[in-house]
């Protein structure tokens, strides 16, 4: 339980550039490094984070529950959100007196591209076993198109894909 809290504390303190940046870090720690979840179980956790309202990082609650029950869920969630909360309070208190617009631009010009590279790597790593059939490719492609150009809500896309899976694979 303490381990869960500490692992997520580490992740929570280190993911910069928005909620999606947490996905590569969680995968590195939980799947590759600690072996707590398989690729598939990890993807399920991301799916749950997508289908529920709120930030995608709430997947940490699901992972915590799978690893350590209710207490694990609490520990993982607390670890995930505590560092950013404390840092945010600090920044708000000083109201970023010393930051300038330009520094922020500098930050997003360096950190965001790195996050994009990470996301690309994680998609390829998770993706190879997730597409066993042409049907799976069709569903994945449709989800890509819906999100990219259809402006369809993520949770609706996940629900539709679950329905498609039920019809096709059952």
């Amino acid at each position: 339980m303490l381990k869960l809290f500490l692992v997520f504390l580490k992740i929570g303190a280190c993911f910069f550039g928005g909620g999606y940046a947490a996905i590569p870090l969680m995968k590195s720690e939980i799947v590759d490094h600690l072996g707590w979840l398989t690729n598939d179980a990890f993807l399920n956790a991301i799916a749950v984070g997508q289908v529920t309202p709120g930030p995608v990082a709430i997947s940490s609650t699901f992972i915590g529950y799978r690893v350590g029950g209710f207490g694990g869920a609490l520990a993982a969630t607390a670890g995930m959100f505590l560092p950013s909360f404390l840092i945010m309070l600090l920044l708000s208190a000083f109201y970023c007196r010393y930051c300038r617009e330009q520094d922020l631009k500098c930050f997003s010009r360096v950190v965001l591209p790195v996050v994009i590279g990470l996301l690309l790597a994680v998609i390829l790593e998770l993706g190879s076993p997730a597409f066993p059939s042409l049907t799976a490719w069709a569903i994945g492609g449709a989800a890509f198109l819906l999100t990219m150009w259809g402006k369809v809500d993520f949770s609706l896309t996940v629900i539709l894909s679950g329905f498609a899976g039920f019809m096709m694979f059952k």
Binding site: I46, Q102, V114, L119, W137, S155
Partner: protein, 180 residues
């Protein structure tokens, strides 16, 4: 505005902000700035900039900022807890159901549909970020380097992210007078 109304506002946001990310941010702006008028637009924009700078999801960071500006540290805690509470409960419920139904073949069929869709969504999110931010040589190079470090050399992604933060800080400090 009292603590109860602050909590209720963020509970509402927590329940209705499907999709997270930018949809959620727009929704917070709508509720706090436009409907309730608790914060002027320019202060909200300033908060959004800070929320993007800090680690963690932009949505919860923004909630912490708004709560803090309105009611101090307890306000910040209240806002973030209210925002997360509905999805926390929902995720717990789904996690418990997962254990019960994981053996059923219908449930497996549903998951077989959801898994490729999640990757499709992630690919689209990444493509959108790339279109918005990879517009010159330096960002493209950085993305390629981070991809290679993770995918080919199996470097732990924590180190890659922290390395990039370090580079950003150094560049920001060095480039005080010119653009980075």
């Amino acid at each position: 505005m009292n603590a109860l109304r602050l909590a209720l506002a963020f509970l509402k946001i927590g329940i209705l902000s499907f999709g997270g990310g930018y949809a959620g941010i727009t929704f917070i702006e709508q509720e706090i700035v436009k409907v309730r008028g608790w914060m002027p637009q320019n202060e909200f924009i300033r908060g959004l900039a800070l929320a993007q700078l800090a680690p963690g999801p932009v949505m919860t960071n923004l909630a912490a900022f708004i709560g803090y500006r309105l009611k101090g540290i307890p306000g910040g805690a209240l806002a973030i807890l209210s925002l997360l509470f509905p999805s926390f409960c929902l995720v717990l419920l789904i996690a418990a159901l997962f254990g019960r139904f994981s053996a059923s073949s219908s449930f497996q069929a549903i998951l077989n549909g959801v898994t490729p869709a999640i990757l499709g969504i992630l690919a689209a999110v990444t493509a959108r970020l790339a279109l918005a931010h990879l517009r010159s040589a330096l960002p493209i190079l950085l993305a390629l380097v981070s991809f290679t470090l993770i995918f080919c050399l199996n470097i732990h992604s924590l180190y890659v992210v922290l390395g990039s933060v370090l580079i950003a800080v150094v560049l920001a400090l060095k480039g005080r007078n010119n653009t980075c």
